[in-house]
Symmetry: C2
């Protein structure tokens, strides 16, 4: 039942659910880098870095290109936008809901809500 | 070497790397819901939904509260903001870089870049 966008989002979220891969994305967000530049701050072997890079490439968030002996990696901004859009859409969902709730409360200032006690309840004998 | 924020981001990205959990978040972004309301559009057992809910709660993106026999789930907007911030910060990284590149090119209009042929190269015999 998975559509293409769902599959892509699975791969993107999975790719970023790892601190080493996030640090590679943080590095690449400042500009393209070779695999060895990506590996430098990480405490892992070069093959392990290449494995992480494959997961990032499969997600579409990063692409790489080999020229001569050097593989240069870069961010794919279009993929990131798609991903950011999913999150923004969700946030807009609850913001709209809170706006509607605020409008309702502004239009009905005298109706106490069901969770708070009525003022008359507070004035005991 | 994982700090608290890194651990939290791991859990959030992992939680959203599943289409059923994303659909639960989409539903909750429109307002609070009971577990059975969350389960309704999904083709899975109630215990499976509860398992997914636990993953969402562990990530901090969703919280739930049981009153009587009904467990009501809702989005935790503060956790979402943290998560959204990580993505926005990365995008700003490459946007700043592209801005600087644009400024450089605007200030040096006569210098051909290394990837394009010089105009004089194009005028053959």
């Amino acid at each position: 039942m998975l559509n293409q966008l769902d599959r892509q989002l699975d791969l993107m979220f999975h790719a970023l659910a790892d601190p080493s891969r996030r640090s590679m994305v943080e590095r690449l967000s400042r500009g393209p880098a070779s695999v060895s530049e990506l590996a430098r701050p990480l405490t892992m072997s070069l093959p392990a870095v290449v494995q992480h890079l494959r997961v990032l490439e499969a997600s579409g968030l990063v692409r790489s290109e080999k020229v001569g002996r050097v593989r240069t990696c870069r961010i794919e901004p279009a993929a990131f936008s798609q991903f950011e859009q999913w999150i923004t859409d969700r946030r807009r969902g609850w913001e709209r809901r809170l706006d509607r709730l605020g409008d309702y409360l502004a239009e009905h200032p005298d109706e106490p809500d069901e969770h708070s006690a009525k003022p008359s309840d507070r004035s005991g004998p």
